[in-house]
């Protein structure tokens, strides 16, 4: 012990003691800490929930409450599911800019990774619809004609014949479905966002939903061919009547003025 006591006052002694103490605590912790091995698969998930909760606290909690329980400014998110979050945030509707009759679609401000984290957090609050997989919403191979029939039966009364959108009461509206991501259409049917009723798999099966997506893809997407020329918004007779008056009759009256102004040479004018 002489050796030890002789070096007791060495300038590095404190550091050595500290290192020994740290190693001991670390070692003891490693031995006695609760085992984490059993939950190793969920690390990513719990991380996502954790990250999602942080994002939630910044972007959502002011209206939906700190624990997703809802406030007077926003509904409870318990049980709405990941699909709801993916739809609402993925289409830019949430976070809302201002309260109103309906929250409009706008620029998406979160990345898909952040949206997934938010969705994971909200899904952890209570069971709800999952985000669909690509096989579920991919329109390839689906029957667009059957989808058209389903669309006219279930959707057209608000969204118009080919999904151009329409008015609802008191400033609410059914938005246009032009260029909406098939995943979001699927999620909207599944979750019934805002003023829309939901169509769970018991009402519209997965195949039905796919058919509807295929129909919209055929009649209301960038690749849709309008067989008769400009479709004037696809709103039907109101747009057509306006066009007939302004451009049809307007052009004909212009022609009439032109013809009337040109007359036989005998008359000077």
């Amino acid at each position: 012990m002489k050796k030890l006591s002789a070096r007791r006052r060495h300038p590095l002694a404190a550091i050595v003691v500290l290192l020994i103490a740290l190693a001991a605590t670390g070692g003891l912790y490693a031995v006695f800490a609760p085992a984490e091995k059993a939950q190793a698969d969920d690390t990513a998930q719990s991380l996502a929930i954790e990250e999602g909760q942080k994002l939630y606290a910044v972007g959502c909690a002011s209206c939906h409450g700190t624990g997703g329980q809802g406030t007077s400014d926003g509904p409870s998110l318990v049980g709405v599911g990941a699909a709801s979050v993916d739809f609402q945030v993925g289409t830019g509707r949430m976070p809302a800019q201002q309260p109103g009759a309906q929250i409009p679609r706008k620029k998406v401000i979160y990345t898909q990774a952040q949206i997934d984290q938010l969705a994971a957090y909200v899904a952890s609050l209570g069971a709800g619809p999952e985000i669909p997989t690509k096989e579920q919403y991919d329109p390839a191979g689906a029957d667009s004609a059957a989808g058209g029939e389903l669309f006219r039966t279930n959707c057209a009364q608000c969204h118009n014949f080919t999904g151009k959108g329409g008015a609802l009461t008191k400033g609410k509206y059914a938005p246009t479905l032009e260029d909406v991501d098939p995943k979001h259409i699927y999620e909207a049917m599944q979750t019934g966002p805002q003023n829309m009723p939901s169509f769970p798999d018991t009402t519209l099966s997965e195949k039905n939903k796919k058919d509807i997506i295929a129909y919209l893809d055929a009649v209301n997407s960038d690749d849709t061919v309008s067989h008769g020329g400009m479709e004037l918004g696809g709103f039907g007779p109101v747009a057509e009547g306006l066009f007939a008056w302004v451009f049809g009759l307007g052009a004909l009256i212009a022609v009439a003025v032109w013809v009337a102004a040109r007359t036989a040479k005998a008359k000077k004018s």
């Binding site: 004609a145 006219r152 959108g165 020329g229 709103f235 008056w245 102004a261």
Partner: protein, 547 residues
Amino acid sequence: MSTTNTTAADPRSRGKAPAGERVADWADGRLGIYSLAKANMRKIFPDHWSFMLGEICMYSFIIIILTGVYLTLFFHPSMNEVEYHGVYEPLQGQLMSEAFKSTLDISFEVRGGLLIRQIHHWAALIFLAGMFVHMMRVFFTGAFRKPREINWLFGFLLFALGMFTGFTGYSLPDDLLSGTGVRFTQGAILSVPIVGTYISMFLFGGEFPGDDFVARFYSIHILLLPGIMLGLMVAHLILVFYHKHTQYAGPGKTNNNVVGMPLLPVYMAKAGGFFFLVFGVIAAIAAIATINPIWALGPYRPDQVSTNAQPDWYMGFAEGLVRAMPGWEINFWGHTLVLGVFIPLVLFGLVLAIIALYPFIESWITGDKREHHILDRPRNAPTRTAFGVAWVSWYMVGLIGGGNDLIATHFHMSINAVTWFVRIGFFAVPVVAFVITKRICLGLQRRDREKVLHGRETGIIKRLPHGEFIEVHEPLSQEQLYTLTAHEQYRPAEIGPATDENGVERKVSPVEKLRVKLSKRYYGEDSQIAKPTVEEYKEITSGHGHH
């Protein structure tokens, strides 16, 4: 006639007449058209663009008939259910009526079918719009006055029948949009007390939709209504020929002459050319913009409906009345009176009837039995003009109601707010329009009076030797003076003395009292500005009145 006769006395002995002359001679010998042509070929028509509005209607009607004949060759007016296996993918295997399927085939498989269909439909919208504008031109210039009241009614009937011909045509393809329109109409028929249910059962051959209505609407659309319209149009034109065309006031134009160009060759060339221009414009529009894309709408099924379900514009007014009307109904003794639909139905007829009967109302108020061939400038008939603008604004309020959903979505408003605007506007807008229009007319009359008395403002400022600045007014030419003062002004009617020459109290019927009251509103001091008299003009222009 034979040309072998070679006697010297015969002028034809100089040789064979030109081929054209021989053809004309041949035709005249059998049809006697020479005297008819001689009398009418030099018929004079005045030149003004607004007189060509009726031509737009006539030509678009002809275009509708021509394209319609082509469509009948391929359309099957049948409600038999068939399964679709044509070229349009998103309807493969769907059940639909033969009418719908044949319209799809016309659109996708008949050569030129879609273009012809679109020309037919666009021409129909333009035909009705043209008739509306033509009718308003006649209204605002007072061309409906004696002797043209009957022709006004013919024109109005053409407009009203055009609405129903259009409606029946719109219903034929049996698509989801038109089927909804037919259902709407059936609802309106059902709302008629007592007879409504019977009419509906009769029209549809049983419960809606049944399997008869396409075939029935077809024969109404292609035979009955166009036949009547064609007859009316010919009568309309014969009367235009017979009455001769009206003209705007101006030097050399009187109530007893027509100043313009002869039918042949000038007007014939212009009118013929105009036909092709109208056809060209309509065909271009049909090639550019699609109309009624029934493949996107899908086949009609009574259990389906879409938003944006509106009729074509000429029925939009009726649609608007129903949309704006509160859903009132009365139930008694197991019967339902659906006022929410029946009142709009009555109003629809009423609004149209008011404009149709206006010429008779005005001639009753003025008591004027003379013929009028010189048109009024709208400002010189302020009350009539204000009435017309009020009527048009009334109609427009109804149209806004018919498109309330699209107005709500496109202007980011609440559909409820739009509907309330229509409800209040239906009563308020015509009144406001009337007052404002009348003010504007009176203002324009004052301006005309100023121009006649003081000349045109040249915008040239002149400084007089003593320092005063004046604006130089340029006197109007004799022609301009005539044009601005050619109109005559009615005096308001008087009720006459309260007693007759024997001191006995005169009996004045309440109808007469009303007439006098209305006449005062029409022609009283507040309703027209006295046009300058010759004395006023002389006094001002004699030198000392200048300022």
